[in-house]
Symmetry: C2
Subunit: 202 residues, 2 copies
DNA sequence: TAAATTATATTATCATTGTTCATTTAGTTT
DNA sequence: AAACTAAATGAACAATGATAATATAATTTA
C-alpha cells in the first residue's frame, strides 16, 4: 500500500527535521552536523541520506518551519492591538524578540548564505518577503487611513526591513549593545524613528 | 642581530596576510583555508602555525587591514564634497560600494561571528564603531550647523548604521534586489529617508 | 511456511579541513 | 668540520560531509 509508505517516510523525515530544529534552537547552526542530528533523531548518520539529499536540504526545510513559528508568535503577541501603528510596533518587537530568543534561527535566516546551488534561490526570496509580510497588514491599514502616503508605503517597509536586519545582525553576531535592556530601548527608538519618517502628525 | 630577525618574521607574516587578503577579496571566506593560503604564500600549511596562533588569528588581522582600505577608498570618493549632508551621502555610498565590490569582506566584517574565543570581542567592537566613524565627521558638522538637533544625532547615526548593514546583508547574501542598478537606487532612497527623518527643512 | 525480493538501516570508507608534533633542512656558532 | 639553533615541513590525528557496499528487516511470492 503506497499510502502507508508515504506516511512512514514522512514520519521519519519528521524525526530528522525535529532533531535539526531542536539543535538549531538550542545550540545554533554550528552544532548542526550529520552525526549529531542523526543521533538525536535516533538513527545512524547514513540514514539521513536516505531521506534528504544532503544536510543543507534538511536545514533549509527548517527555515520554512521557523517562519511559521515566528509568524504564529508574532500574531499572538500582537492580537490585542488594533491594526495600525501600535500593532505594527508590537509586531516588529515580537519579531525581533523571536530572533533574540533563538539566535541560531536568525543566523540561519539572514546570515548563512543560501549555499551554492539553485535550491537556495527560492529560499532567499522567501526570507526576504517574510519580513515584509510581518508588517504588511498594518502598513496597508495606515495607507488606507491616510496616515501614510502611498509613496511612503514602500519606504517605510524598506526602512523597517533594513533596520531590523541591521539591529539583529549587530546584536546577535556582535553582542552590541551588550545587554538586552539597552538593546530593547534601541529597538524602540529605531522603530519610532522609522515611523516618524513616514507617518503624518504623530 | 635581533632587529633583522623581527623584520624577516614580519615579512613572512606579511606573505601569509597578503595571501589571505587576496583570497578573501577574490573567492571569499569559504575559500580561505590553511592549505590554500599557505600555498599562495609560498609555504607549507604547517609553516602558518609558526607565525600565527591559528587560522582565525590570520583572518582577523585582515579585518583591520580592510578597514583601512575601506576608509581610504571612502575618503577618496568623498574628498570633492564639502562636509555635511552631501558628503555624508557620498561616504555612505562609497562604503556600500566597497562592500559590494568585495562581498567576501562584508561577510568577514558583519556576518562571520567573531569566533568563539576572547580574541573576537575587541574586533567586534572595532567593527561596530567602524561604521560610525565613516559618518561621524559629517554628522558632527550637521549638528554644529544646526541642521540636525543634538537629540537626533545619535538616531541618525543609528539608522544609517542599521540600514546600511541591512541593505548589504540582503544584497550580498540574498542577491536581493537582483541587479546592481536597482540596488543603488534603493540605497539612494534609504539614505535620503534617513536624512529626511532627522534633517530640518531639506 | 520457506524462499525470493524489496526496502531500509548501518558499517566501512573516503575526502576535506584544522591542527599538532616529530623530523628534516637550513643557517649560525664554535 | 662539528655542534648547535631556528625554521620549514611531512606525517598523522580529529572532526565533518558524503558515498557505497553490506547487513538487516519487511514484504511478496511460490
Amino acid at each position: 500500500m503506497v499510502k502507508n509508505k508515504e506516511l512512514q517516510e514522512s514520519r521519519i523525515r519528521g524525526y530528522f527535521i525535529e532533531a535539526a530544529k531542536e539543535t538549531l534552537k538550542g545550540e545554533g547552526l554550528k552544532a548542526v552536523n550529520v552525526r549529531t542530528v542523526s543521533e538525536r533523531a535516533g538513527y545512524s548518520f547514513a540514514t539521513l541520506y536516505n531521506y534528504f539529499k544532503d544536510l543543507n536540504e534538511l536545514v533549509f526545510i527548517c527555515v520554512s518551519d521557523f517562519m511559521d513559528d515566528c509568524e504564529t508568535s508574532v500574531d499572538e503577541h500582537s492580537a490585542r492591538f488594533n491594526p495600525g501603528q501600535e500593532r505594527l510596533k508590537a509586531r516588529m518587537k515580537a519579531t525581533i524578540n523571536y530572533f533574540i530568543q533563538y539566535p541560531g534561527i536568525f543566523e540561519l535566516f539572514f546570515v548563512e548564505r543560501m549555499n551554492d546551488l539553485g535550491s537556495g534561490q527560492p529560499t532567499a526570496r522567501t526570507i526576504y518577503e517574510f519580513t515584509d509580510r510581518i508588517v504588511m497588514d498594518d502598513i496597508r491599514h495606515m495607507t488606507g487611513s491616510g496616515e501614510v502616503s502611498s509613496e511612503d508605503e514602500g519606504l517605510l517597509k524598506m526602512n523597517l526591513r533594513n533596520s531590523m536586519a541591521g539591529l539583529l545582525l549587530f546584536y546577535n553576531n556582535r553582542l552590541q549593545p551588550s545587554d538586552y535592556e539597552e538593546f530593547i530601548s534601541i529597538v524602540e527608538k529605531q522603530i519610532d524613528l522609522s515611523l516618524r519618517l513616514c507617518v503624518k502628525h504623530t
